[in-house]
Symmetry: C2
């Protein structure tokens, strides 16, 4: 068939203009380049990225559903804001969600090995996780902790994919990006949130131990939450993503 060379490398060559600018805008929002409340017009973004208004429009709509921008009909779009008091609630929901995800991943791992050999899709994700864990260890050893947030999100999302539940993966993606937004408001907050715990979680999943996986994951997320609130609690109710 002689497929296109960009088959399983959708992020290297040209990841489709729409997705590209969507990630770009979200990144600018998360890292404060586009502050909360600022207006984002389709025409301005279109000319900025050298493309038409249609892809920009779709990207804005997607970001609206993700909660990063708010738009009213015929009135335009503005960058949203996360009130500070939502942070703890988001962490609480994430803890429950990730516990369910970890349990599911463990159950599926056990089922895969019980049925003989796991299928290729499972192994593909499993190998990606191994790579992520390795890269994280390397980053910790080299004191390049600014790489950890990205690797951290990728790890958690990969665990979700290992459970092969598109619904739960989508939910986690939504929550994780919001929490990343809250974190990014403080530049010096990007420490190693106990990267080593990831290994234990992965081991429990590999062993097919759903209870341990869920418990470890919940504790892991909870520790992340404690780290967050202890850092921001002193700054009163100032909006971190504003």
């Amino acid at each position: 068939m002689e497929r296109s060379p960009a088959q399983h490398l959708p992020d290297k060559t040209e990841p489709a203009p729409k997705q590209r600018i969507q990630d770009e805008i979200r990144r600018d929002i998360i890292f404060g380049v586009l502050p909360s409340g600022s207006r984002v017009t389709e025409a301005a973004l279109a000319s900025k990225y050298g493309i038409s208004r249609v892809p920009v429009r779709e990207a804005l709509r997607a970001l609206e559903m993700e909660g990063f921008v708010e738009s009213k009909p015929y009135a335009g779009s503005t960058v949203a804001a996360i009130p500070f008091d939502e942070a703890e609630d988001l962490f609480a929901v994430r803890e429950a969600l990730e516990a369910v995800i970890a349990r599911r991943a463990a159950r599926r791992a056990a089922a895969q090995f019980a049925a003989g050999r796991p299928d290729d899709g499972w192994w593909g994700i499993r190998k990606e996780i191994a790579q992520i864990l390795h890269d994280g260890d390397e980053a910790v050893a080299a004191d390049l902790q600014e790489r950890l947030p990205e690797l951290n999100i990728r790890f958690h999302l990969a665990i979700a994919e290992l459970g092969s539940s598109t619904s739960l993966t989508a939910l986690l993606r939504q929550i994780a990006r919001k929490i990343e937004w809250l974190y990014a408001a403080d530049v010096k907050s990007r420490g190693k949130h106990s990267w080593s715990e990831h290994w234990a979680i992965m081991a429990a999943i590999d062993a097919g131990n759903a209870d341990d996986a869920g418990t470890l994951m919940a504790a892991h997320v909870n520790e992340s939450r404690v780290g967050y609130v202890s850092r921001f609690r002193s700054e009163d109710s100032d909006s971190p993503a504003g």
Copy 2:
């Protein structure tokens, strides 16, 4: 100015073509008019609803993010399917999510009353909930239980809005629609899932009792889950939304 008569009645006259067909398509998916796996092309939907491809396109993208359709670049969109084994996980996440939401609503209610008089936005939602509760009681009394699912979703979403957390509301909307999809697969499943419990939850929120509100809500969702699994457990692993 002589405003358009469709000012605060966005659902009666012409609720914007895009939103309209988006809801229409989702409804057709939820109730099986568009079965899982069937192809949905932009051109067909455009001609069906007598509009252009652009609004159809945006609606499909939104539904893709909601998880109702899957689409690959240049390949088209197909109606998605919820594997049966995701149902219990969705209920588990929803239980945790709604408990957090109820607690938040109770905290906010207490704060509103503590600060003198609640603002108009809060009262608007509160009055809407009163109406929903009333309509639900009427439907139960008149044995018109087919109206309860819609009222049920509206109640739970209104509680989320009472807590004024856009993030949590968006998450609940995503989960609730998925669960509605699972429910709708069985036509005779639309019973009164203990509507009276809603009154107790609302009372706890009004009293500002976060612990009670969260506990009652969790129990309420859990009961719904039990009702679901007891109904579908016998049908083995048949995909209910397929």
